[in-house]
């Protein structure tokens, strides 16, 4: 089941340059899968890079090849849309370490001829961004009109602005943070331990065995999914309502609607995501701390930055709370960078950035268009 992602063809490029990772390991010819939408103009100055969140992918505006569902931001990225593909050339790349065409633990290790598994080097958000930069180089794209991302995508957008300030005109960071908090790391660790405790995980060497850690990955997804929602949102959607029954069973079936919802989320996830990739990408997020190389002073990461920053948080998001966005804004102010910030109101928690949010869309459109 979970290996379905490996049988799908993705648009990708094998990079000519080796990628030196933050860990010191080197990927000789990493493959990056990506999707592009809209025309690239002659001046090549109408490019918008969209960075995806942990369990998202490059199919931001096109049908997902495994699930058959529309792209995760297809309401945002479309002709005439908030990110207008009639006028902008939109690129979304699958991050390194992932499982939808980019080099990751499910890729074949040229040294052994079998899947890397846990022999794949640990990657960081910085590595993901560096790989994207090389990809853009090879596509002949120097400048980005905008880099946009939510959640982990926001971390990449921040990284882009910090590491390539001269290549980015503006960066929009939605429901994100400049570091992973202890609580974020704790939830990720629960997910990783669930995967590694599944006997089908087999030390990560499950690709050839015909067995995959479906249960572990599914539990990891269920736990994570709770963190994407809010108590108010869950209560409004499910309350304590029972699922397809009148009374409790006094057993351990999914009596409550919220239980069967989570089980569904977990099970449908294993079809489109690789368990090892989940380990690697959550690890990359946990290691993320933009202030760390600057002695803990985040402002130093953005000193004299010419980038225009826009930050958006949601008031019910407890995974990446407003305080984390504020911390970034304070640092940007201290660095005298141009920054805007707004906290939007939503009952949907962290997930709000993926849902219909006309308020956020208006903001995004204004931010992208300003000064064009």
């Amino acid at each position: 089941m979970a290996t379905r992602t490996r049988d799908v063809q993705h648009n990708s490029l094998s990079l000519e340059r080796p990628l030196t990772l933050d860990s010191g390991a080197v990927l000789e010819r990493p493959v990056i899968a990506f999707e592009r939408y809209g025309p690239l103009n002659e001046a090549r100055d109408n490019v918008i890079l969209i960075c995806h969140a942990l369990t998202m992918d490059q199919y931001v505006a096109s049908t997902h090849p495994v699930t058959g569902k529309p792209g995760w931001w297809s309401k945002v990225v479309r002709p005439g849309g908030v990110v207008d593909t009639d006028r902008y050339h939109v690129i979304c790349a699958n991050v390194i370490g992932s499982c939808l065409g980019s080099s990751g633990p499910a890729s074949l290790d040229p040294a052994t001829g079998s899947a890397f598994g846990m022999n794949f080097p640990v990657v960081t958000i910085g590595d993901m961004v560096r790989a994207q930069a090389i990809l853009l180089d090879e596509l002949g794209i120097g400048q980005l009109h905008a880099v946009i991302g939510g959640s982990m995508g926001g971390m990449q957008a921040l990284c882009w602005a910090a590491h390539y300030p001269d290549r980015v005109d503006r960066a929009l960071i939605i429901a994100s943070a400049a570091r992973h908090s202890a609580q974020n790391i704790a939830f990720h660790e629960v997910g990783r331990q669930a995967i590694m405790a599944d006997p089908d995980w087999q030390g990560g060497d499950y690709y050839a065995s015909g067995r995959v850690p479906v249960k572990g990955l599914s539990v990891a997804r269920m736990a994570a999914h709770i963190t994407y929602l809010s108590e108010a949102g869950l209560t409004a959607k499910f309350g304590r309502q029972l699922q397809d029954r009148e009374t409790k069973t006094f057993g351990f079936d999914a009596d409550f609607q919220v239980e069967s919802y989570l089980r569904h989320q977990g099970i449908s996830f294993v079809d489109r995501f690789d368990a090892n990739s989940y380990l690697y990408i959550t690890r990359a997020m946990d290691y993320f701390d933009l202030a760390e190389p600057h002695g803990g002073r985040l402002a130093e990461a953005f000193r004299d930055s010419p980038v225009r920053f826009g930050l958006v948080s949601f008031d019910s998001d407890w995974l990446y709370p407003t305080s984390e966005s504020r911390r970034i804004v304070q640092a940007l102010h201290a660095a005298c960078a141009q920054a805007s910030f707004v906290e939007l109101s939503s009952p949907f928690g962290h997930d709000a950035f993926l849902l219909d949010s006309p308020e956020m869309w208006r903001l995004m459109a204004g931010f992208i268009e300003a000064g064009r």
Partner: protein, 199 residues
């Protein structure tokens, strides 16, 4: 780009700001003054605003505005990060106007502060004859729901800046959109604008 005419106090401030100045507009609303300063004075201007819808409107205009609360968030700005701080019609809504003034002159060597004058004759008469908190053009909201929690008069403000050793470099008094003299300001000004500087 066309602009609707600025409110008289904002027009006055805009006229005084030097070309290319770095400015923080505190309580910037939807960014009307910021946009005018950017377009007419090539100012490098940032805003702080408490209302999310206003921040969004300003962002849509391409302005750098941060949602926040002047009472709490001015502390985040480094010393001397701007040439001017602007506080228009916000002083009377703050928890501690005296501390806000300290913050303004820490962030920038100079500041503009504008506020409705609570000693205007209409306010005095309303209180004298009616015995009730006045509701006027510039103070249009009933006492129980007004954001104006520290009503201030021209004399109060002069006294506060003197006590804090803050220099007053300019003062303008408006009755409607017309200037009125400093001598008559206490009674006749609906609105006062001060340019202050570190003492």
């Amino acid at each position: 780009m066309s602009h609707s005419p600025l409110r008289p106090d904002l027009a006055l401030i805009a006229a005084e700001v030097p070309h290319g100045a770095r400015i923080l507009d505190i309580g910037c609303g939807d960014g009307t003054l910021m946009a005018a300063l950017r377009d007419s004075k090539a100012a490098d201007v940032r805003g702080l605003e408490i209302d999310a819808a206003n921040v969004a409107a300003a962002m849509e205009r391409g302005l750098a505005v941060v949602q926040g609360d002047a009472d709490r968030d001015l502390a985040d700005y480094p010393d001397d990060s701007f040439d001017f701080a602007i506080l228009s019609q916000t002083l009377q809504t703050s928890q501690r106007p005296d501390r806000i003034l300290d913050q303004l002159l820490r962030i920038a060597p100079r500041a503009f502060v504008s506020f409705p004058n609570f000693a205007h004759w209409r306010v005095r008469l309303a209180l004298l004859w009616g015995g009730r908190m006045p509701v006027t053009r510039l103070l249009p909201i009933a006492w129980y729901e007004t954001p104006n929690i520290h009503h201030v008069t021209v004399s109060d403000f002069r006294e506060l800046v003197a006590a804090k050793n803050i220099a007053v470099e300019g003062a303008w008094y408006l009755n409607g959109d017309r200037p009125t003299s400093a001598a008559a300001a206490s009674w006749r000004a609906e609105h006062a604008i001060f340019q202050i500087a570190r003492g």
